[in-house]
């Protein structure tokens, strides 16, 4: 795995927030390497800094110390022009532009290039719309008229419109019913394989985690306490891992892992 090209390299990252004269350290010497083609899940308790980690990758936060390198460039360069062709981000609540129809939302990054003809842009957006499993009739709906699952799909289509090699997911199945969550997981899995994406996912949901991840990184105590396959991580003695994987839901998690290893 480690011989493959690294898409993301985090080296001794410190994230510090200042508020009312008090410094809150979120990450302390956090290092992580993500290779091309991986589907890495970041798990951790509430407030452990998972979302801050994603924001660091997107260049929305600045490291207090250390370096974050994404696709060979410093993460602070992510938000510049052309960012959509480097990284796609699926926000937790979709973050669709409420004033635009679904099709216009998906086509937005392509339209911003200003050169491509309108027909081509619409066709390309329609392909992405169908690729994420939306009906053609959804194209002209407004985001307010969509169900939670459809919002996630439309937002995913928008994240993928420029075919970025790296996709970031923030709680992709949060707020979906188990059926929709399973369907969305299946979609993510097939897209990951088909489009040859590198995916970084933050999730709380154990089912999603075990169904999708090729590797899991556990954030606790301000750094990565364990990383590896589900089985490797679950064997670690760290109290958070014990509580998360072997707590109340342990039975179910073990059953799932058993199933997936049989299927694999």
């Amino acid at each position: 795995m480690n011989t493959r090209r690294a898409v993301v390299e985090i080296d001794k990252l410190w994230s510090v927030f200042h508020s009312r004269g008090v410094d809150t350290v979120v990450h302390q010497d956090l290092s992580l390497r993500i290779a091309a083609g991986e589907l890495l899940s970041v798990v951790g308790g509430s407030g452990s800094g998972k979302t801050v980690l994603l924001r660091q990758l997107l260049g929305l936060e600045t490291p207090a110390r250390g370096r974050v390198t994404v696709l060979g460039a410093d993460a602070s360069r992510m938000g510049r022009a052309g960012a959509a062709s480097r990284v796609g981000m699926l926000f937790q609540h979709g973050a669709l532009f409420s004033a635009f129809s679904v099709l216009d939302n998906i086509a937005f990054p392509l339209r911003e290039l200003k050169t491509l003809p309108a027909d081509l842009v619409r066709d390309a957006a329609m392909v992405k719309l169908r690729m994420v499993g939306l009906e053609a009739s959804a194209a002209h709906k407004m985001p307010a008229d969509l169900s939670g699952g459809m919002v996630k799909r439309a937002a995913l289509a928008r994240a993928l419109i420029m075919d970025p090699p790296l996709l970031l997911l923030d709680e992709p199945t949060a707020g979906l019913d188990p059926g929709s969550a399973d369907a969305f997981c299946a979609l993510l899995k097939s897209l990951h394989q088909e489009l040859n994406l590198t995916v970084v996912m933050v999730t709380h949901d154990l089912d999603t985690l075990l169904a999708l991840s090729t590797r899991i990184a556990v954030v606790a105590d301000k750094h990565i306490v364990a990383e590896g396959t589900a089985a490797q991580v679950m064997a670690q003695p760290h109290p958070f891992i014990q509580a998360y994987f072997w707590g109340e839901r342990g039975q179910r998690a073990r059953a799932l892992l058993h199933d997936s290893s049989k299927a694999g």
């Binding site: 060979g72 062709s85 050169t115 066709d123 992405k128």
Partner: protein, 374 residues
Amino acid sequence: MPEATPTLTLHTRPTGRCAVLGGCWSAARLADPGQWSKISQTLVLAGSSRGVQWDLLALTRLDHTGAQLLWNTWGRQWPMQLQVNPAQQAMLQRVARFSGAELRLAPMSIGQRFLKLGEQLWLLWDHLLGLLALTGQLLLDLLALVRSPRCGPWRDMSGHLYRIGATALPVTALVGFMIGIVLAYLMSRQLRQFGADTFIVNILGIGLIRELGPMLAAILIAGRSGSAITAQIGVMRVTEELDAMRVMGIAQGYRLVLPRALACAVAMPLISVWTTLAALLGGMLAADAVLGVTPAYFFATLPRAVEIGNLWLALGKSMVFGVLIALVGCHYGLRVKPNTESLGQGTTASVVTSITVVLLVDALFAVVFKNVGI
């Protein structure tokens, strides 16, 4: 790693004409204006001639947009001769599979446009009914407040009083002062022609106290607080706070509309008086400078020139303006739909409507009370 610029060249080989693609055919690279004009021209040429061989093997990258471009050039069917590697094949197949006729929205027919016009009229009617209902609800809430004043939303009201009234004092004073100066200067030129310099007191007194003071204050408050009321309530709709209130059984009229309307009703006459005072001060100083009408004379003449009825009229009018501004602001705020565009439209409509309503009602006052104070 810099990606190669996309290229497209037409060769003539012994087997026939051949289109050779090279470089990176991704959306970002294709959209480069210099490249795009070249490639689109060659594509039209290659697409129009039949039996062209397509060679994609030299491509470093092909993304969905590039594949879509090719697919559209091919007339949405596979070309006769195509050389691709498996990854490109998969990409093109995906585009072919998901490409299809888009459901276009049919343009509006003349009949539909006509009906749309009627819809606009109904909308106006709907707004009127909504405002009426809001006013009725406000009266009922007032009644409830009078019956049990201890349970009134007094904390909310005092907050709004501060925000609508106290924080508006500097801007209203400034505007009033300036208008007073301008008015006195303009009038002085005309009055001097007739030698009627001393009538500046009458003109400023009646004009500012009866009309301009309340109007200026109302227009400023409509722009300042009317928009704030709409935006505040509108964001509560967007963040589902309004739904939360309803679920908890908290009456929106009593907790949102009543405190704002009361605060406006109390603050508006006070601001109106404040603005008028500032304008009179400006006018007095300007009159002193231009016409030599001393402040002492100004103070002595003002009570004789302006009947006390004018002041009562101005106060009453301002109170009505205040209630109307709050009602219109609340009305549009409560009608905001949970999206950003609707919030912007609602706020704009609120300010425009409240200023219009204030002007209309002012004209009504002028007609009805034409015998008062003059």
